[in-house]
Amino acid sequence: METIKSGIWFYIVKKLALVIPVWLGISAAAFLLGVISPSDPAVLLLSMDGISTPGAQEIAAKRHELGLDRPYILQYLAWLGQVLQGNLGISYITQQPVLDELLLRLPVTVTLAGISLLLVMLVGIPLGVLMAWGKNTGSDFVLRAAALAGTSLPSFWLSILMIWLFAETLQLLPTSGYGSVSQLILPAITLAAGTTGALMRLQRATLLEVLEQNFIFAAKAKGLPGSRIIWRHGLPNALIPVVTLLGNYFGGVLGGSAVIESIYSLPGLGSYVLEAIRGRDYPVIQGYVLFTGCVFVVFNLLVDLVYLGLNPRIRLGGK
């Protein structure tokens, strides 16, 4: 058993080793993102009340205060130095530490992402299985059409209609805001619609492929009930590509969705970075991109670990 055990550790260590350069690359990209944009945060800050028109020397003073007059490489190293001590710098607009603001907004995005992930799993997988199970029957076509519509409709178009229908006319659900769970239902549905459709289609395809395997035929020959063949034999084998899709989706959604959060006025990470980009708030953009970089890296590792769980050959064979 010893060699197998080290197999997994070696596998994880190798993955972790790749993380460091990736993370550094992401931090450099994050820094560049802010710098390449042609506008000057100092001017923006001084004229953001729409009234005052800053003079040249005021702008210069502000640039110096923000440290923008130093060469880029120095700015990057200073920023990186701070980051390694856990200080993501101060937001230009709100003057609050970026880390605190990110943490303040994280629960909003995490709950929304969590609910929508649950929706995708609890709706996508069973319906996907149902479609594969009743291949080419009535329900299969209806569900395939629904899945296709889900993936093809833009989420904001869906949101506009759903707010109009459920919140405005039927007044069943609140239109926007954050606080109670009922406020998260509509955003979660619109956020999950696209990926639920994609998951259903993927699950159907992979399950159909698995159901043609020899061991499924052997299971039928053993007289096992249909549900057991589908759920206990078929599904576990068809979950691996689904896990990849869910891993990528959750990793992405954890970065917050600018569109959904602005429509439903949810103060999450997405709307936060949208404001930061519009206000050229460099520290916030860089802090945010770094944060999503970490989420991506962690999620990649998680997805790989789930692979190990699902596929004994890799887990025990040590790839």
Binding site: V43, L45, M48, T53, W164, L173, G179, G226, S271
Partner: protein
Amino acid sequence: MEKGRTLVKAACLLALFGLGLFFSYSDQPAQPPDPDREIVLAAARDLTPGSKDPYYTSLILEVWEPLVGVGEDGQPAPKLARRWEHSDDYKEWTFKLTEGVTFHDGTPFNAAAVVQNFERYRVISPRTSSFYLFDIHKIYPHLRRAEATGEYTVQLTFDRPFPTLLYSMTNFGSAMFSPACFDARTGDFVTAVAGTGPFKMIGHFNKQYTLLERNETYYGSKAKAKTIRVRNIPVAETRYSALKAGEIMGVLDIGSLTPALTSELLKDQQFAVATKRSSITHYLFCNGEKAPLNDPRLRQAISLMVNREVLVKNFFHGYAIPTNNFINGASPFSNVGIPGRNTAKAKEVARSVLQDKTADIIFLVPQYGIDRYPYKEIAEFIQAELKELGLNARIVVMDWAAIQDARANGRFDIILGTQGLPNLEPASLFQNYMKSTGSANVQYRLGYKNEEADRLLAELDTATGTEEREKIYDCLQAIARKDPPCIPLFDDLNLAVYNKKLENYQPLLYGVILDKVGWRQ
């Protein structure tokens, strides 16, 4: 195989039915309307930026009050400062404070508190804010010292005469906070803000809402509503839906609701709108350092060509006031400017300037304008009008930062945008825009050079008498009408849209009279 599948399908249908049942059952039974129940309003931005903002929260929430406010007629009106007088040379100003006033945290409001606030002004200047950039050197230029000459009298001494101090001090210029709630060294707020206003702030959750409660010990007439929650809903359409769904009872602050949505909403009888001039004017900023708009005659031609009435009727749905006067009508010093439209003259002037040729120009439109006002439709309408003058305008929508950059590098010909009146006394606006070395003139590349204006502005620096200054303002406005630094289009209207369940939902120059708002009985 078959039995299992029908089972799962049945489960799905059952779930849907259950969901439907849950929803239809969930709306609360109607109780009799309790007059003290919470009033929920909404604004496009977070009106409480918090401890690092010079004012912690916006004036319109009436949590803090200034020494000097603005009256109905747009003139400076007494607020925390009851009376004031100044020395003949306008260098010493003495203020008599209202007595018997306490801050929300119990500390008494007196001359000592005012002086501590002035110390804070000095420490925090300059500090940016989404409301009004606070800089003591601009609001109280050449202020030598502020001292308490009595328990309720404060004296400000200036090195140079400052006749328009009162205008500069109105509202955001003289905000008063309890000394106990801010750190004297940094000027940042350390506790929740404690002002003297009719509402106390009892809660604020980042970017979500601000919770106000009636100040029972207010020295003036107490607020009507017991608690008001002001939510932050950035997208206009969502505010519209929230109004329709009855989640919010009214909208306030800049860009409360777009004109189009307002007229759409008013088709529903339960809503109404009250309007009042705001201090914001919409302009076409021209790049005066680059052909073809460096020729003032062409700028004049454009001003004559633009059909302000149709723009207001079709796209502002009547919620704006056409003007060609450089100074916003809200200022008591502004002369009424009825824009005369003369397309024939405009085309003739344009043809002569462009020598019968056409010119390609870049027309920038800010994204914030599209979110708040019908800027996209207006831009595309003006684009069509400019074509008749031989100007082929290419519209580029940019976010505000990109436009600032394009402005700084002169990569534009026309920009549609807004400019707020710094304070009701137009001196600083004239200085910034019409003086050849004015900050806006240089930064925004207006390329405006008018000797007459420069002379008048130099004279203004030393003029102290109000009639004298008014005369200069009238001349400057006349010059601006003939040779506009930038083309004024409309004066913006503050739209106070509300559900008729409320009463006294009256707009101010900026915001709403919050303490008058209450449930209709």
